[in-house]
C-alpha cells in the first residue's frame, strides 16, 4: 500500500477547490473571532490552514503549497501546547478563584443549552459588521491591487482573512486571541503575496516569520497567565 502523495490528496479534495474552500476559510475566520473556547479557536485555525492549502495550489507549485500548510499546522501545535500549559485560559487547578485577582469568570448569558459570555455577543455584532464590510469591498473593488484577473473566490479569501484578522487583533486584548488574529491576517496577506512572488526563498522566509511569531506569542501567553500575575 502506498501512502497518498500530495497530488493524490489534491485529487481527493478537488471538489472543495475554488469557492467552497474560500467560503470555508471565511467560516473558520468567523469561528475564530466568535469562539470563546480556546480549543475551538485553535482547531478552527488548523482547519483554516488546511483549507488555505487548496487555495495556495492555484498560485504555487503543490510542493510549495504543502509547506505553507505544514508551517501553519506547526504554528497551531505551538499554540495548542502553550494553551494547554496555561489551562486554556482558566485558573490553574491549584489556584482558588478567591486568590486570583486577575482572572475573573466572565458574565454569561444562557441561550438555550449554551452559556454564552457577554463579550461573545459583542463579537457576534462586530463579526456581522465586518462581514458586511467584506461584502461591500468585494462588490465595489476592481480586483486585488497589482493582480489582474484573479478569481473572485481568491479575492474573497484574501479580503476576508485580512478583514477578520484585523478584527480579531483589534477586539482581543488577550495575547492568544490576538495571536490568532495575527496569523489570520498574515495568512490573508501571504495568500495574496504568493500570487506576486513564488520563489522558494520567500516561502522559507515567511515560514521562519510565522514560526518566530508563534514562539513570541506563546511566550506572551505564558507570561499573561503566570501564577504571580494571577495572584497579584
Amino acid at each position: 500500500m502506498n501512502f497518498p502523495t500530495i497530488f493524490d490528496w489534491l485529487e481527493r479534495f478537488d471538489f472543495l477547490r475554488g469557492f467552497p474552500a474560500a467560503l470555508a476559510v471565511l467560516a473558520t475566520a468567523v469561528i475564530i473571532v466568535l469562539a470563546w473556547e480556546w480549543r475551538v479557536a485553535i482547531l478552527a485555525l488548523a482547519a483554516q490552514y488546511l483549507l488555505l492549502g487548496l487555495l495556495y495550489v492555484d498560485v504555487l507549485d503543490p510542493r510549495l503549497a504543502v509547506t505553507k500548510v505544514l508551517v501553519g499546522l506547526f504554528v497551531c501545535l505551538i499554540l495548542a501546547v502553550t494553551a494547554g500549559q496555561v489551562n486554556w485560559g482558566r485558573l490553574p487547578v491549584d489556584v482558588l478563584p478567591e486568590e486570583a485577582e486577575q482572572i475573573k469568570a466572565e458574565q454569561r448569558i444562557q441561550i438555550g443549552p449554551l452559556a454564552v459570555p457577554v463579550s461573545g455577543l459583542l463579537r457576534l455584532a462586530a463579526a456581522a459588521i465586518m462581514f458586511l464590510v467584506v461584502w461591500v469591498l468585494m462588490d465595489r473593488a476592481a480586483g486585488l491591487p497589482l493582480l489582474a484577473d484573479t478569481a473572485v473566490y481568491f479575492e474573497l479569501a484574501v479580503v476576508g482573512l485580512l478583514a477578520f484578522g484585523l478584527l480579531a487583533i483589534a477586539i482581543s486584548p488577550e495575547p492568544l486571541r490576538m495571536g490568532l488574529g495575527v496569523f489570520m491576517f498574515l495568512s490573508g496577506f501571504e495568500l495574496y503575496f504568493s500570487a506576486l512572488e513564488q520563489s522558494a526563498a520567500m516561502l522559507a522566509m515567511l515560514a521562519m516569520l510565522n514560526l518566530l511569531l508563534a514562539v513570541v506569542i506563546s511566550y506572551l501567553v505564558q507570561r499573561r497567565y503566570a501564577v504571580p500575575a494571577l495572584l497579584d
Binding site: Q102, P145, L146, L166, I169, P173, P175, M178, G181, V182, F185, L186, F189, F193, L196, E197, A201, M202, M205, L206, M208, L209, L212, L213, V216, I217, Y219, L220, R223, R224, A226, V227, P228, A229, L230, D232
Partner: protein, 448 residues
C-alpha cells in the same frame, strides 16, 4: 561580515542562558556589545558584499557607521542595566534583534530585509514584556502593529525591486502607510503609549532611541524620491492628530509615564512630518531629531530609574497609588535625581538650552518655511504643555514631607556622579555642534 549577523545571535544565546542572574547577564551583554563594536570597527571601511544563502549582503560605509552608533548605544544601555537590573529577556532579546536588524539593512534585494525587520521587531516584543508577569499589553500591541506594517513594506519593496523606475509613486504611497504604523502616527500610536506605560525606561531607550534609527532608515530609504501632494496631506493629517493626542496626554497627565508618553509621541511626530519634506533635507533632519531623542531619553531613563528608586512616580497627590504619598517632598531628599529627570523631560520636549532643542527647532523651521503654521504651532504647544505639567508637579515634589515617613534619600557619592552627568548633558546641550556634526556625517553617508 558574518560577525555582524551571527555575533549578536551567539551573544543572545549566551546571555539567555545566564538570564537568571540579572547583573551577570547585563555584564555579559555589555562585553558582547563592546566586542562587537570593536570587531565592526576593524572591518574595512569600504563597500563590500558577500553572498549568504544566495542573497547578497552589503556593508556600506553608511551602514557600518550606523551599526557602530547602534552598538555604542546598546553598550550604554547594558551598562545602565548593570546599575538598574531589568528582567531576564531585555538583554538576550535586544542582542538577537540586533542580528536580525543587521540582516534587514544589509541584505539585497531589500524585499527580504523587510521580513528580517519584522522578525527583529517581533523579538523586541519579548524585550518589551521582559519577564514581568501579567504585563503583556505593550508586547502584544508592539507585535501586532509590527505585523500590520509588513504588507505595506513588503509590497513596496517588491515593487521597488521588480519594477524600479515605473513604480516610484506607488512605492512611496505604500511605504507611507507602513511608516505611519512603525513611527506611531495616529491611529497607530497606541503601541507607543502602551509601551511607555508598561515597560521600563531602558526599553524606551532601546525602542525609541536606537531601533527607530533602523525603522527610519527603511522608511526614508523607500521614499527617496519624495511624496506626492496627496500623501503629504495624509502625513500632515496623521501628524496633526498625533500631536493632538500628545497634547491631550500631557494636559491630563497624573503620572510621569503619561507625560513621557505624550512627549515621545510629539517627538516621533517630528520624524513623521519630515516624510513630507523634500528628500534633500528630510533624512538629515530626521537623524538629528532621532539622535537628540536618544540622548534625551537616555538622560530621562537614568533620572526616572533613580526617581523610582527613591519612591517617586506621580505628579500630584491625585496620581499616587496606595495610601502613602511617595512623591510628597521627594525633591528635597533626591534633588539631583529630580534635576536629571527634569532635564531629560524638558530635552524630550525640545525646550531651548536642552539637547532636544536643535532637532525640534529644525523641524519647526521646516514646517514654518513650508507654510504649515498650524502644525508648527501644535508642536510648540506640546513643548509648552510638557513644561506646564512638570511645573505643576513641582510644588508637590517640593512640599514638606511627613516627618513620620522614613524614605530613602540620595547618597553623597550619587549626588557627585549625577552632578557630573548633568554637567556633561548641559555641555552637550550648549555645544550642540559636537554631536550635530556626527549626526550630519552619519546622514551624509547614506546620501546618493
Amino acid at each position: 561580515m558574518s560577525i555582524v549577523l551571527l555575533g549578536p545571535l551567539l551573544a543572545a544565546l549566551i546571555t539567555g542562558f545566564a538570564s537568571r542572574w540579572r547583573r551577570l547577564t547585563a555584564v555579559l551583554g555589555l562585553l558582547a556589545a563592546i566586542v562587537l563594536w570593536l570587531l565592526l570597527r576593524a572591518e574595512p571601511a569600504i563597500s563590500q558584499s558577500v553572498v549568504l544563502l544566495s542573497r547578497a549582503l552589503v556593508l556600506t560605509p553608511g551602514l557600518r557607521a550606523l551599526f557602530l552608533f547602534l552598538y555604542a548605544g546598546l553598550a550604554g544601555l547594558f551598562a545602565l542595566a548593570i546599575l538598574f537590573p531589568q528582567g531576564g529577556k531585555l538583554i538576550p532579546a535586544s542582542l538577537a534583534a540586533y542580528g536580525f536588524l543587521a540582516a534587514a539593512l544589509m541584505i539585497r534585494p531589500s524585499l527580504f530585509g523587510v521580513l528580517f525587520l519584522v522578525m527583529a521587531l517581533g523579538l523586541l516584543a519579548l524585550a518589551v514584556q521582559d519577564d514581568r508577569a501579567g504585563a503583556v499589553q505593550g508586547g502584544v500591541r508592539y507585535l501586532a502593529l509590527a505585523v500590520l506594517s509588513l504588507p505595506f513594506l513588503l509590497a513596496a519593496t517588491w515593487l521597488a525591486d521588480t519594477q524600479a523606475t515605473a513604480a516610484g509613486g506607488i512605492v512611496a504611497r505604500t511605504v507611507v502607510w507602513g511608516g505611519l504604523i512603525l513611527l506611531a502616527a495616529f491611529p497607530f500610536h497606541v503601541w507607543a503609549t502602551t509601551v511607555v506605560r508598561e515597560a521600563s525606561p531602558l526599553v524606551w531607550l532601546l525602542l525609541f532611541g536606537l531601533v527607530q534609527f533602523v525603522v527610519m532608515r527603511f522608511v526614508f530609504g523607500l521614499v527617496a524620491d519624495g511624496l506626492d501632494g496627496e500623501m503629504v496631506r495624509l502625513v500632515e493629517l496623521a501628524s496633526a492628530l498625533t500631536l493632538l493626542v500628545a497634547l491631550l496626554l500631557l494636559l491630563t497627565a497624573v503620572t510621569l509615564n503619561r507625560v513621557v508618553g505624550g512627549l515621545l509621541l510629539a517627538d516621533m511626530t517630528c520624524v513623521v512630518l519630515l516624510l513630507g519634506q523634500s528628500p534633500a533635507v528630510n533624512w538629515e533632519t530626521a537623524v538629528i531629531v532621532q539622535m537628540a531623542r536618544f540622548f534625551s531619553v537616555g538622560v530621562l531613563a537614568v533620572g526616572l530609574l533613580l526617581w523610582t528608586r527613591f519612591g517617586g512616580g506621580a505628579l500630584t497627590l491625585a496620581g499616587e497609588v496606595g495610601e502613602q504619598p511617595r512623591c510628597l517632598g521627594i525633591a528635597r531628599r533626591a534633588p539631583l535625581s529630580m534635576l536629571v529627570l527634569l532635564f531629560g523631560c524638558l530635552s524630550l520636549a525640545g525646550l531651548p538650552l536642552t539637547i532636544g532643542f536643535g532637532g525640534r527647532w529644525l523641524a519647526i523651521s521646516l514646517l514654518a518655511a513650508k507654510g504649515a503654521n498650524m502644525l508648527a504651532l501644535l508642536l510648540l504647544a506640546t513643548t509648552g504643555a510638557g513644561v506646564l505639567v512638570l511645573l505643576r508637579a513641582l510644588p508637590y515634589w517640593f512640599a514638606l514631607p511627613d516627618e513620620a515617613q522614613h524614605q530613602p534619600g540620595e547618597g553623597r557619592w550619587l549626588q557627585v556622579l549625577l552632578a557630573g552627568g548633568l554637567l556633561l548633558a548641559l555641555w552637550l546641550a550648549w555645544q550642540p555642534q559636537v554631536w550635530l556634526a556626527y549626526a550630519v556625517r552619519l546622514a551624509g553617508l547614506f546620501a546618493g
